[in-house]
């Protein structure tokens, strides 16, 4: 294992200290328990949006705390959902009296821990709603399984919902908007290499020099299938087609296209993949209204990418465009 770290035990904490120093103007970083809130205390009278999950997906979620997006983020250990203590502390810290929305990625651990935290916070007087994001079409959805994972759609939900909270929407509206985003977003990812969890010390899976894992999540979980590597265009099609079919996205749809890197894939490749993805959409008569390209929801140093498609309506587009000022996404101010 080769990483720029000191001790696997302390990776999350030391990285949080770096975030605290690098973004002292934007963030307040708490270390016991771990959570990140906007500098300056709760927004009185506004709904607070809180998310979290295992560390190792940076900039998700801490990099999205700030004006117009999250009020708080709770990073667990690497790839381990945060504890109720963290989520409860963050929830109480940002509750400005108008209620708190938890945006939760659909993993058993995340769901259970956020549930417990919500109960604890509710017991102390916070009004808490939760929306579970489950946009990963690589996973078969069924009543009898854990269901789909939450992946790239989470970033888009956090931006759009954060903007609604910022403009003063109430908890019920913010919650139903978040559900609307979730209902309209689909993703799928692939890996060229595994990541290495620091405390595991070795790659989670081994891929041959000519293989890709298709249908991976964001925790180094192996994917649905292992295939021989193909040209980028074919790889993009492998991700985009199931996404397109699932909702379905149709000719005339207005969409946001998000090509995300898994952490170790350079921008030159992401833009190359982006070109193919937008081309395919154009051919299908789908109109790409907004775009995002970069490493936003990652799996440590994994090489790979995911494609996320969000069917936009006018309100979502307006909220996407609204000013945001976080370490990782910033525009309009």
């Amino acid at each position: 294992m080769k990483k720029i770290i000191n001790d696997p035990e302390n990776v999350v904490e030391e990285s949080l200290r770096g975030m605290a120093m690098a973004h002292a103007d934007l963030l307040e970083v708490h270390l016991d328990p771990h959570y990140i809130v906007r500098a300056g205390g709760p927004d009185e009278g506004k709904v607070a949006v809180v998310s979290g999950g295992g560390a190792g997906h940076e900039p998700l979620h801490g990099g999205f705390v700030g004006y117009g997006m999250l009020h708080a983020a709770c990073p667990g250990a690497v790839f381990t959902s945060p504890t109720p203590d963290q989520v409860e502390a963050a929830t109480k810290a940002v509750d400005g009296g108008a209620g708190v929305l938890h945006i939760v990625k659909n993993y058993t651990g995340d769901v259970l821990n956020f549930e417990t935290a919500a109960e604890l916070a509710a017991a102390e007087g916070s009004q808490v709603e939760a929306v579970v994001i489950n946009d990963d079409v690589a996973v078969k959805d069924s009543l009898y399984t854990a269901g789909r994972r939450g992946v790239g759609g989470t970033v888009l939900a956090e931006k759009i919902v954060g903007a609604a909270a910022e403009r003063g929407d109430d908890l019920a509206s913010v919650t139903s908007l978040c559900e609307r985003v979730n209902a309209n977003v689909r993703s799928m990812g692939l890996a060229l290499t595994s990541c290495t969890v620091p405390h595991a010390g070795k790659p989670t899976f081994e891929l041959g020099e000519d293989e890709v894992e298709v249908g991976i999540g964001i925790h180094g979980e192996p994917g649905r299938e292992r295939l021989p590597i193909e040209p980028a265009d074919a790889l993009v099609d492998r991700l985009l087609n199931p996404v397109l079919e699932d909702l379905p996205f149709e000719s005339g749809s207005q969409v946001l296209l998000f090509v995300n890197g898994m952490g170790g894939t350079p921008l030159i490749e992401l833009y190359l993949a982006y070109a193919r993805a937008e081309e395919v959409l154009r051919e299908r008569g789908i109109s790409v209204q907004r775009r995002l390209v970069g490493n936003y929801i990652t799996s440590l140093e994994m090489q790979g990418m995911s494609v996320t498609l969000l069917r936009l309506d006018d309100e979502m587009t307006e909220l996407w465009d609204a000013p945001v000022h976080t370490p990782a996404l910033r525009w309009g101010r």
């Binding site: 651990g109 399984t145 854990a146 989670t204 925790h219």
Partner: protein, 227 residues
Amino acid sequence: MAPGESDTAGGMATTDDVVEAVVRYAAVVSSHRQELIDLDAAIGDADHGENMNRGMTAAVQALEADPPGSPAEALKTVATTLIRKVGGAAGPLYGTAFLRASTAVQDRETLGPDDVVTGLRAALEGLVSRGKAEVGDKTMVDAWSPAVDAAAAAAGDGVAALVAAAADAAEEGMRATTPLVARKGRASYLGERSAGHQDPGATSTALLLRVLADLASERCGSDAGTA
């Protein structure tokens, strides 16, 4: 009975026995940490050994910091620690199991065979109520469920015998997860590819019950079946 004195020899588990079991399980988890990580790497995210290790280390510390006055208190301290400090799926699932076990034996000073069965069953029910997994979903329930059945069937033979039966059944359940296609937890994302791998949570469950069985058999000597 004076604190610190053990009554397991008579088939009853004391507070200290429960604490000792927790301490031993923490040690077992620590020595199986990499194995549990490797099992989780194959069909999950390579953290189960780390999660359990972090959780059990914290549980032992919590018991040391604030020594419990009853088996239920000991179980509750473990539960709260796992729930509040571990995260992941294992934290709340094991935590809920310990919490329900604690509630089920709330008024007992020592635990007899029926208490142990009640506690184990409550743990399983807690687990299922939180995680919604059924037997065959390739989760820790596949180890817990046969263990509870075996324990109940052997309840008349005393604590040591019933936990021994539970441990055997848990290990069998654990091994039986290997061919299964997962329907719950992270392994379910792999679909058919999850088959052929043993479930990490079922493994940590089997380890837990084996710790109980070993401890009870030590305390009871050879009269396990006759207490």
